[in-house]
């Protein structure tokens, strides 16, 4: 299992990634907000990347779809 790590190595890559993600999401933020997002981005990604744990290799997600739910008796 890979950990899918996307923690940027430096602030330059954080800026590039945040710029790209905001553009892809079509979010128009102020320069001040963008600067804060760039600063926060390593922490945001670290929180997500930390969830790719070896213990979860055979674990199913806590989501369930019940096809029968949409049919009345």
């Amino acid at each position: 299992m890979t950990d899918g790590s996307a923690v940027p190595a430096d602030s330059t890559s954080s800026e590039q990634i945040v710029t790209g993600l905001l553009a892809a999401a079509q979010l128009t933020v102020s320069a001040e907000e963008k600067a804060q997002m760039i600063k926060d981005f390593p922490k945001v990604r670290a929180g997500a990347d930390a969830l790719y744990l070896p213990e979860l290799e055979f674990v199913e997600p806590a989501t369930r779809f019940d096809p029968a739910r949409y049919y009345t008796a």
């Binding site: 999401a25 933020v29 997002m37 600063k39 981005f41 922490k43 930390a50 744990l53 997600p61 806590a62």
Partner: protein
């Protein structure tokens, strides 16, 4: 820790302006039934306090004065006619402003929500309280869309902690928390996705219950995190929370997540003490984190010792990856919220509050795989907690790492790095009650959290109630009279 009790002037029974406001719901109910109090007098007094203090405390978005007095008069008329709709008849309550309520707008404290959202309707839970004869003082302030922090530039009241207005009342159910603490209501409704009932209960010094996911139907409530949200009672005592919950809880077909589980008479299940109760204390992260305030830790452990003195037992345990559980809850919440808000974030970014939009916008920084992985972690975490609760009756932690922070020190980014002790239990859908356990040396409330098995609200409330039979922390009232005089 100080043990100072701020007292309220106790005066005569019934004339408006002379009615005690530091009543629990149970006490007020007894007075209403004994004829020493009318709902009209109680409601008038509460309304006068709310009107006098709302500029200073920001508890309400709107105070529904006329409608409240009509409800109070109807409650009194019912009492006079021998009609008793139960413990909430004639009781003034605050309704968080993401919950629909007839006769008042639902704003979610946002310029983005459609002005006619929920117009003219009650949420299921509001309807149940109304049918039980409750009185609605108004719509209580919330963090915008139940996330973020107040933005004073958006035109909504900014809530303040009544124990010290320079400190946060927490969120997102800030208004209900402030109103309950400052006696601008006897209790009310909050919602909880990662701690939004327990946080305000913790820092404002009263009791607040996050219920089992699905225990209270959510139709008529603006969503934040679909798979995490719950509606919970907030009040001074555990008994009051029980009285509220037995009206609020129960299946409704309009909420696909509503549970078809019988609703017990919670208020009748709180007696009997804690003899034989098995308590698990998860020490790593929850009791040994460097950010945990020593006074908060000491107060919680002192309360545990009191429970042990009453016959409970406690063991230290380990919950692996507790720090990651906080992140998993956050990622699921932000992902679900981002899906709901996406189009508005694209087109109306600046209409959101300045602390709300970066929190919601964070959803753009997580991948779909991250969301799935957070849900895989959720399974792992729920199984681990279930194993613990297979052996123990409850888990106890501090409700938060610290007492209320200074409001001017808070921002959307700082939360990323800090520990949190509440979202863990939304992640596994469990009931958890925040219980006051004293005041800090700076006079701010301290709080303990009691977590139980699914639908074991009676168990966690019983632990809180037992503690509240031998302590008065939940009865302390904040020093708001100076604000009133000003």
């Amino acid at each position: 820790m100080t043990d100072t009790k701020t007292t309220q002037t106790e005066v005569g029974p019934d004339a408006p302006g002379t009615v005690k406001t530091n009543l629990t719901i149970a006490e007020a109910g007894a007075a209403l039934r004994s004829g020493t109090l009318t709902s009209t007098a109680l409601t008038r007094t509460i309304l006068d306090r709310a009107l006098a203090l709302n500029d200073a405390l920001g508890a309400y978005v709107v105070i529904t004065e006329d409608a409240a007095m009509e409800q109070a008069a109807a409650a009194d008329a019912d009492f006079a006619a021998g009609i008793d709709r139960g413990a909430l008849q004639g009781i003034p309550l605050a309704i968080k402003d993401i919950i629909a309520m007839k006769g008042a707008p639902t704003t979610a404290n946002s310029r983005v929500l459609a002005p006619d959202w929920g117009h003219g309707t009650d949420a299921v839970v509001t309807d149940r309280l109304r049918a039980a004869g409750a009185v609605f003082v108004g719509k209580a302030t919330t963090s915008e869309f139940a996330c973020g922090l107040p933005d004073p530039d958006k035109g909504f009241p900014v809530p303040h902690n009544p124990w010290n207005v320079a400190h946060t009342p927490a969120g997102s159910s800030s208004g209900t928390g402030v109103a309950t603490a400052a006696q601008l209501a006897l209790g009310g409704l909050g919602t909880d996705t990662g701690g939004s009932v327990r946080g305000p209960a913790c820092v404002n010094g009263h009791t607040g219950l996050k219920v089992t996911f699905g225990r209270v139907p959510k139709n008529g409530v603006v969503p934040l995190g679909f798979s995490l949200d719950s509606i919970g009672p907030m009040a001074r005592s555990a008994l009051d929370c029980a009285l509220l919950l037995e009206v609020m809880a129960g299946y409704d077909a309009g909420d696909p997540n509503a549970a078809k589980v019988d609703v017990p008479k919670y208020s009748e299940l709180l007696a009997g003490g804690v003899e034989g109760l098995k308590i698990a204390l998860p020490v790593p992260y929850f009791f040994d984190h460097e950010a945990l305030d020593p006074e908060q830790r000491s107060a919680v452990l002192a309360a545990v010792n009191q429970l042990v003195g009453l016959g409970a037992t406690s063991d230290e345990i380990v919950l692996e990856h507790a720090a990651e559980a906080k992140d998993a809850n956050h990622i699921i919440m932000v992902g679900e919220a981002y899906a709901y808000h996406r189009d508005n974030l694209v087109h109306r970014w600046e209409e959101y509050g300045r602390f709300t939009r970066p929190t919601l916008g964070r959803g753009a920084f997580y991948t779909a795989a991250d969301h799935v992985q957070a849900n895989r972690f959720r399974t792992y975490w729920a199984e681990q907690v279930a194993t613990v609760l297979g052996e123990y009756d409850v888990i106890i932690t501090p409700s938060a790492p610290t007492p209320a922070e200074r409001a001017d020190a808070m921002d959307a980014s700082s939360r990323l790095a800090k520990p949190g002790y509440t979202g863990h239990w939304n992640l596994c859908g469990l009931p958890a009650v925040a219980v006051p356990v004293g005041l800090s040396s700076s006079g701010l409330p301290l709080s303990m959290q009691v977590i139980g098995r699914p639908f074991a609200e009676a168990t966690v409330l019983k632990v809180a109630h037992t503690l509240q039979q031998i302590t008065e922390h939940h009865l302390l009232v904040p020093p708001v009279e100076a604000l009133m005089a000003a």
